[in-house]
Amino acid sequence: MTPTRKHALMIDASRCIGCHSCAVACKMEHELPAGPRTVKVIQIGPLEADGPPMMRYETVTCFHCDRPACVSACPTGAMQKRPDGLVFSEPSLCIGCQTCAVACPFGIPELNPATGKIAKCDGCRERVDRGLWPACALKCPTGCLSYGAPLRVVQDLRMREAVTIARSIAVR
């Protein structure tokens, strides 16, 4: 039975070091070839604007939209949204037409050249159905990616910020 309880993947970009562990973990988990990048790490900068140079990394993966354009556009019904919110492409129905890739405003779906079908983040649905964390979050060496129930994830983010502020003003 498909679970209905929603989970959230938290991306704390301030902790991303551009190590690509998440990208490679995803490739291994889903046995993808070189080419499609279901998780991307994008380097921004260094930028110099009235101060020292700044550089950061952004981890980008499927947002699993509430109203996903890719699902509406898919002509075969391969692209689906589960009750728990995960958007995935069913390989047995996908014909590789890439209509979803055109429809997605974030350029997430990509063609898997090995299978001729769409490759995109499916939220590690088979792992989460077993109660496991998604592969990208589990391998992340810095805690940039973490996973849990939406309320708990938001609470975690608040706690992190509170601890950072509290420790920055505390005398060590």
Partner: protein, 665 residues
């Protein structure tokens, strides 16, 4: 106080498996615990070990992608040989025949040439047992020329501490971390997690490097220095501290040899020399020294490359003068300092002293102003792709070599130059002891059987030694011609003064790891006298003569840009080039050029460019970025040059030089 409890990690695999093997990742020296899941002896999944004290379940891109190399179709899995480089290899020969042929040709060279005609290059990819076996074989042969990037040129001076430096897991409890030419985010991502944890606890992170790195992007204070000037930065920092009297007076009195004049050597330095030698301003340096002086504890973490440059001892002097060497959660942490002193060949009696020439000095990382050396070798045994890495300076001399043996896994430049191929077992295909950065001893179990005829480094050296009649010095060979790895490492542990008392059986039985030295009290007993000198005190490092004088590199007129190369996050060794997932992450041919310089030269992002120096050149693809300074070029490709000129393909070097000169004027 607000306390933070992270989300519960729920680890495991969804894939079907019939066997699970716990082992240790050996892609770098962090020593992350991993669990491999196998179905029909094929790895179907790799996960980190959640209970592992160093990695805590995390793995980096390399620690996940390594499985792609094991069953790669281009992998070398059978020995092969050829008489000349113009011939193709005669493949599908067995190890015995390949070793017989190679040993016969080696013997002919030995009979005819001096003992130093043999040079051995040990790449970390070949394994620790290859390096240690090479040292034994070389001692039996009589050649001093065995090189490995982890081999410290000043092992005795760099860490003359009675007790080893604190492990990297202690970084998390320090108030300040100073990283000098150590891009941990790229080279040791899992260990960098400890740095970020310290920062989350309020620690300040100061990063000093040759370009704006991923590590630097997380820094509270970042300084970009000239390539190769890390140790010089340390000397100027010492001057800044002494000038404002910010050193720890009691620590200086307790720990330094009584030499009242040593501070005067720093006083005599003229600040005029700071910018030409490091690229820093006096104000910027004073900022760092004042910042550091206010810290109750600090770790200074220095990159491996600094060990091969002059004045490396300044870091111990600095940490001692500031009192950090004796405080908890403080000290100097030179990267790769988790390796104990190996005593793997002293049981072999040396040939007559006069017949042994001295080693050629620091090889893996050449200082930019090095003198040309001529090793005059006739035989080379190389592993990995060392001729495209730390043995680059040997390439001009290759034509004199009569015999090159290659111990490796994939076709590369070194393989192309060889007469004999010996297929190497990957780390996942052999048992072995791991010495991690954290001074941890861990037993790494073999995950899968070696592909076809691949063998370990110790197998190679044992087989070769047998053919020279030196089998008594390699007693670990078993009836099936394979070496007993456990027997070898058990013997090794007992011979090192650092690891005496560490029992292999206990390490193998331990859940995760044990630290050396066996006596853990030594780690906390950090009281004076703490140095391994006769007096128990430290001789402070002094600035060398002529230090700070304005220097201008000879080649600057024709090659106005500095060249710098470092490793990238997705590849630690040459084998990583063959993992499709890793290969697509970063372009190994990328050439970083500052946008201002690119504009002057008419180069745009993605253009094919040539980077040329006095001795050689490389091709690459332009990556315009402010990660490099205005007059610095960076690429992951190694080039045996410190000064270069860059130009677009099709553009003449003269035109590029004229444009740059006009800009300078």
């Amino acid at each position: 106080m607000v306390d933070y409890q992270p989300l519960n990690r729920i680890a495991g695999t969804r894939k079907g498996f019939d066997r699970q093997v716990y082992s240790v990742c050996q892609e770098c020296t962090v020593g992350c615990g991993l669990a491999a899941f196998l179905q029909d002896d094929i790895i179907v999944d790799v996960q980190g070990v959640e209970q592992h004290p160093v990695s805590r379940g995390r793995l980096c891109a390399r620690g996940v992608a390594f499985t792609q190399g094991l069953r790669h179709p281009r992998r070398i899995t059978l020995p092969a040989a050829r008489n000349t480089l113009s011939q193709s290899f005669e493949a599908a020969m067995n190890w015995e025949k390949a070793l017989d042929l190679f040993a016969e040709r080696l013997r002919r060279i030995r009979d005819r040439e001096s003992v130093d005609a043999l040079v051995i290059g040990c790449d970390p990819e070949a394994g620790l047992d290859f390096w240690l076996g090479a040292r034994r074989f070389a001692r039996l042969w009589g050649t001093p020329h065995v090189y490995h990037p982890w081999d410290s040129p000043d092992a005795k001076q760099s860490l003359p501490l009675k007790s080893p430096t604190a492990p990297c897991t202690r970084w998390a409890d320090s108030a300040c971390l100073l990283l000098v030419e150590a891009d941990l985010a790229a080279t040791h991502p899992v260990a960098f997690g400890w740095v970020l944890e310290a920062q989350n606890k309020g620690a300040k992170l100061i990063v000093v490097d040759n370009r704006f790195t991923a590590t630097m992007s997380k820094a509270d204070l970042a300084l970009t220095i000239r390539p190769g000037s890390g140790n010089r930065f340390g000397l100027w920092l010492m001057k800044a501290i002494l000038e404002e009297n910010r050193q720890h007076a009691q620590a200086v009195a307790d720990n330094f040899e009584p030499a009242p004049d040593w501070q005067a050597a720093y006083d005599a330095l003229d600040w005029e020399g700071l910018e030409p030698s490091t690229g820093l301003s006096q104000g910027g340096l004073l900022n760092v020294s004042r910042f550091l002086a206010g810290m109750p504890s600090a770790f200074v973490i220095t990159g491996k490359r600094l060990e091969h440059l002059p004045s490396h001892g300044i870091w111990l002097t600095l940490c001692t003068a500031m009192g950090w060497a004796v405080r908890p959660n403080s000290g100097w942490y030179p990267l790769e300092s988790g390796l104990p002193r190996f005593n793997c060949d002293s049981d072999i009696e040396l040939p007559a002293a006069e017949s042994i020439p001295p080693p050629a000095g620091p090889f893996p990382y050449q200082p930019p102003d090095r003198q040309e050396r001529d090793l005059a070798f006739k035989a080379l045994i190389a592993s990995g792709n060392c001729l495209a890495d730390f043995f680059l300076p040997l390439r001009p001399q290759l034509k004199r070599a009569e015999l090159v043996g290659f111990f490796g896994s994939f076709p590369n430049f070194t393989c192309d130059q060889s007469h004999a191929l010996f297929p190497a077992a990957a780390w996942a295909e052999r048992d072995g002891l791991c010495f991690s950065n954290d001074r941890a001893l861990q037993w790494a179990n073999r995950i899968v059987a070696p592909a076809d005829a691949c063998r370990s480094g110790l197998d190679f050296w044992s087989g070769l030694a047998q053919r020279f009649g030196w089998q008594e010095f390699f007693p670990w060979i078993k009836k099936n011609d394979r070496a007993d790895q456990a027997g070898f490492y058990d013997w090794l542990l007992k011979r090192s003064p650092d690891t005496q008392g560490c029992e292999l059986a206990q390490i193998r039985a331990a859940d995760h790891l044990q630290s050396w030295p066996a006596d853990p009290e030594k780690l906390v007993r950090r009281q004076p006298p703490m140095f391994a000198s006769d007096s128990g005190r430290l001789q402070p490092a002094l600035p060398p003569a002529e230090f700070g004088a304005q220097e201008r590199p000879e080649a600057e007129d024709l090659f106005p840009l500095a060249y710098h190369s470092t490793r990238v996050v997705s590849r630690a060794t040459d084998a990583g080039r063959w993992w499709p997932w890793a290969a697509e992450l970063e372009d190994e041919n990328a050439v970083q050029i500052h946008p201002d310089i690119a504009q002057i030269l008419g180069i745009e992002n993605g253009d094919e460019v040539v980077v040329a120096g006095p001795r050689g050149c490389i091709d690459g693809r332009a990556w315009l970025s402010r990660m490099v300074g205005r007059r610095v070029i960076w690429s992951p490709q190694r080039l045996d040059e410190s000064r270069v000129l860059v130009h677009k393909k099709g553009q003449s070097g003269e035109d590029a030089l004229n444009r740059l000169k006009a800009d300078l004027a």
